[in-house]
């Protein structure tokens, strides 16, 4: 079809790199406004208590201090942060945008200091006196689930919501199965940790009653709606502006208390207000993720066919239900068994409140955790039944014959739409992964001691839900020089959408990519948009671009037809030129010169895409120290269609390495008083350049996505999902002589060393 350009599918080097490589990226901290004030947030130093007194007077005497905001300065009732999805029970647990009475986690905003310089604001923040009558906090989810004590007066439980996922008849299947096995697993609290901390700059334009908030990411349109509602402004009077963003990974760009507080201050005082989070603050303020406990049971035939799974997951969601707080809870029960054909499922997921920083999403929410639980369970069962782990997966993975395959439904219904696996043969990525990894050659290494270390190999299969609905918009404008501006609702968080959208637009318009400029992520570009979350930007935004181009080509044809005084059907368009049969021609630039040439397109779909894949790991474990070296790691996924192999590969490898941080080192530890023990990037250990050099990622495009014009599937999260399962299975394989079966992350050297010591086998 496309003859002129074929940008889609080629490893196009990114257009955004030119500015980043030369120091011309502009992030929120780089922004300055005349007369700006700086905000410093005073945060609760205790995990649970009632505010007795706040005295800002000493702070107000400090040099450069302009004002201090506390709850009484804000209209009553104090606004609460809205939820992204409906849920019948979470309303009492919404977070007030500033603490008025109770404080429920260390780091909860209590006051805002405004000063003429950032250092001055930070100095003064130390001087705000806060007296809190401390209460006994709930730090452990077990105590909290038992209601000791209740965190919200007037409620009957600390369980904010309970989801169930049921299909078939699990009880009957368990009763009849020859083999059943129950095990408990857990994943530790950690977080996305983008390298740039959050920041905002809000400006109030009194003349026309408009508010501009710079620092948007992920969900500018949702956040605008939320902020406008809280401030009593029409939605169209608020603009969220996106600058360059130093990483998102699901946590950045949700609506946080500071979104309101900074905007409120800007309107109240008429000065631009700038706030940049510091790293210590970041750890106690940005959404936490992943802390989860699973009690799971599997039922199998003796040949390894899985007939049922059931279990209960408790997710520690922290002190409040944040906008996306329930996503990991509902995802984990829907996705734990996801890549497999298991007819009987019965899962329950509880979102449990504790006195910790509220949780939200981190890349692959609920899927990383569920994959870890399931892949460990399958390896444990395979070992005990006496079936090879690979054979067990081959027997149960979904095939193209099963497609489309409805994932188990969730109650209460939460508006996630259709969750039906769309296409693929999950055995394809398994076999390809084994081949690339050299499984058969490495098999002999499993469990052997070489040079003082035990070697092991392990595997993990996964699916990734992408293309989150409901839709996305795009607008295309041809300028009078024939260049094309493409405006998309998708946000850029480092994934390269300026390049990807330009590839898609240039191919659809059959014009050179250099003629396309992509503008994104700000609410002033489009009437409606959504953003970048749930591996959706390329699929939803890209499909909206295709829709806008189709409209544009139709307009172009009509303009040319009028000029040539012929019917539009007699005009052909290719390569940016409209032609009549007699040879008369008109360029896009000429059409644009004749009047504004602009078209909008929308892509709407409630059908998800499901990228799938398999990862294999080869590790060496030192029994004397418990440390693990990753010797080889291969991940193979099928994304339907690849728009840009360079950026796609970057997504998979980058996500994989994040997953190693989740498995080995990242941990947001709290003490018994609810004090966060992590305050810096020296305590919170994200992977380093020296840690994981051996990673291979292979992406296939075997089964296109059937429900979007590109055939592409969301692919930003898949890489992280199988890491926990594959690596831990490899460690268990290495330590098979000890029958060490790790069930809890992170697998730090002390924890593994301890497991080895406690095993009954003789120590080496």
């Amino acid at each position: 079809m496309r003859t002129v350009n074929t940008y889609i599918g080629r490893p196009i080097e990114r257009v955004e790199d030119f500015r980043f490589l030369r120091g011309r990226g502009r992030y929120i901290a780089d922004l300055k406004r005349e007369g700006q004030w700086h905000a410093a947030i005073v945060r609760s130093p205790v995990a649970f208590g009632r505010i007795a007194r706040i005295d800002a007077a000493p702070a107000l005497k400090m040099p450069g201090v302009c004002a201090v905001i506390t709850a009484p300065d804000i209209s009553q009732p104090i606004p609460t942060i809205p939820f992204r999805r409906k849920n019948p029970t979470i309303a009492p647990y919404a977070q007030p945008i500033i603490a008025a009475d109770y404080v429920r986690y260390v780091g909860e905003p209590v006051a805002v200091v405004l000063a003429t310089g950032v250092e001055l604001a930070e100095d003064a923040a130390q001087e705000v006196i806060i007296e809190i009558n401390a209460l006994t906090p709930c730090v452990d989810w077990r105590a909290s689930a038992a209601g000791r004590p209740l965190l919200f007066p007037g409620t009957a439980t600390n369980i904010a919501s309970t989801f169930t996922a049921q299909c078939g008849d699990a009880a009957a299947a368990f009763a009849a199965a020859p083999y059943t096995r129950r095990e408990r697993f857990s994943v530790q609290r950690h977080t996305a940790s983008p390298l740039e901390t959050r920041g905002l700059l809000a400006e109030w334009h009194a003349g026309d009653g408009r508010l501009t908030v710079c620092g948007a990411a992920k969900l500018p349109f949702f956040n605008r709606r939320a902020l406008a509602g809280m401030m009593g402004l029409p939605e169209t009077s608020v603009d969220y502006i996106e600058l360059d963003v130093g990483g998102g990974f699901g946590a950045r760009g949700e609506f946080y208390p500071e979104d309101f507080l900074v905007a409120f201050a800007a309107r109240k005082f008429g000065h631009p207000i700038k706030w940049i989070e510091d790293r210590r603050e970041h750890f106690m303020a940005i959404g936490h993720a992943r802390q989860m406990d699973a009690d799971i049971e599997i039922a199998c035939q003796t040949d390894g066919t899985v007939v049922a799974m059931r279990g209960t997951m408790h997710v520690d969601i922290g002190a409040y239900v944040r906008p996306n707080g329930m996503t990991p809870v509902r995802n984990v029960i829907q996705f734990t068994a996801a890549p497999y054909r298991i007819p009987n499922l019965d899962f329950t997921g509880h979102g449990v409140l504790t006195n910790k920083t509220p949780a939200g999403t981190y890349r692959g929410p609920g899927r990383f955790e569920g994959c870890f639980f399931c892949e460990r369970m399958i390896d444990i069962a395979a070992r005990e039944i006496g079936v090879a782990p690979l054979e067990m997966r081959r027997r149960n993975l979904l095939t193209d014959q099963d497609m489309p395959y409805a994932l188990v439904g969730i109650a209460p219904e939460d508006g996630f739409g259709d969750t039906e696996c769309d296409s693929g043969d999950y055995r394809v990525t398994l076999e390809r992964c084994l081949e690339e990894f050299g499984w058969d050659d490495k098999k002999a290494l499993a469990g052997t001691l070489r040079d003082g270390r035990y070697h092991g190999i392990g595997i993990g299969c996964f699916i990734e839900g992408g293309a989150s609905g409901p839709g996305e918009s795009a607008r295309i404008e041809v300028t009078s020089d024939g260049k094309v501006d493409v405006y998309v609702g998708s946000s850029a968080i480092g994934q390269g959408i300026e390049t990807i959208m330009a590839q898609i637009a240039a191919d659809a318009l059959e014009i050179p990519m250099d003629d396309v400029r992509v503008l994104h992520g700000s609410t002033n570009y489009l009437k409606q948009g959504y953003g970048s979350y749930g591996s959706r930007a390329t699929v939803m935004g890209g499909s909206a671009v295709v829709a806008a181009v189709e409209d544009m080509l139709k307009c172009f044809r009509d303009i040319a037809a009028r000029k040539f005084s012929i019917v539009a059907d007699d005009v052909s368009v290719s390569g940016g030129v409209a032609r009549a049969r007699d040879g008369r021609a008109m360029t896009l630039a000429e059409a644009a010169a004749a009047g504004v040439l602009t078209c909008e397109g929308t892509f709407t779909s409630d059908k998800r895409t499901y990228t799938y894949g398999t990862a294999a790991a080869h590790v060496a474990v030192d029994p004397k120290t418990g440390s693990v070296q990753l010797l080889d790691y291969v991940v193979v996924d099928d994304v339907g269609r690849v728009i840009n192999p360079l950026t796609l590969h970057g997504q998979v490898v980058g996500a994989t390495v994040q997953g190693f941080g989740s498995v080995f080192s990242e941990n947001l530890l709290y003490d018994a008083d609810g004090q966060l023990l992590v305050g810096s990037l020296a305590d919170y250990q994200i992977p380093l350049a020296t840690d994981y050099p051996h990673i291979r990622a292979i992406t296939l495009a075997r089964f296109p996505a059937p429900h979007n014009p590109l055939g592409a599937k969301g692919a930003g999260e898949g890489g992280i999902i199988p890491v926990g399962g594959a690596v831990t299975n490899a460690i268990a394989s290495a330590l098979s002589a000890f029958n060490v079966q790790p069930t809890d992350l992170p697998l730090t050297p002390p924890r593994l060393w301890d497991l080895i010591q406690r095993s009954r086998a003789p120590t080496p």
Binding site: E13, L21, R22, R24, S193, V245, G247, Q495, T690
Partner: protein, 160 residues
């Protein structure tokens, strides 16, 4: 206090509070890149080159660079042309969000200027002081390895 130094070959004279870090000075007062990822020397995003050495500008006060010569990421390219190291970063997709990139480039520029034949292990070792949350480091190492040739030539021509 009054301060004079050189940034990217240009003489600079500014009046700055003694407690201002070099990182904040570059960003807030000179409109250059000063990416503060942690402000405690752990992430390396703020790395600049001071008198030939890669240093964390968040751990240095601006007043400490009086009389020094500083190179920031803006000083690595020749006009609008990307340097060979920058070209290699683009080719290998060694950056995603771009926030760590200035520190990665300055660190590698300082390393390869001194040790143009640094091997992958040496490069990884030096980069272990710079955090990247997006790429997994593999393409950054590949880009550095590719750029070595250019630095070797430059050193060769200097020696010659």
């Amino acid at each position: 206090m009054q301060l004079q130094f050189e940034v990217n070959g240009q003489a600079v004279e500014i009046d700055i509070a003694p407690r201002t870090t070099l990182c904040d000075c570059l960003r807030d007062h000179l409109n250059l890149t000063g990416h503060a990822g942690c402000e405690h020397g752990a992430c390396g995003a703020c790395t600049v080159i001071v008198d030939g050495q890669a240093v964390r500008s968040c751990l240095m006060l601006a007043v400490q660079v009086a009389g020094a010569s500083i190179v920031t990421v803006e000083g690595l390219a020749d006009g609008d042309e990307l340097s060979p190291l920058q070209e290699a970063f683009r080719k290998h997709h060694a950056l995603q969000c771009g926030f760590c990139t200035p520190g990665m480039l300055t660190t590698l520029h300082a390393l390869l200027s001194d040790e143009p034949m640094a091997d992958a292990d040496r490069i990884r070792d030096v980069l272990s002081g710079n955090l990247c949350r997006c790429t997994g480091y593999i393409p950054i190492v590949e880009a550095a390895l590719e750029a070595r040739e250019h630095y070797a030539k430059k050193q060769g021509s200097k020696a010659g």
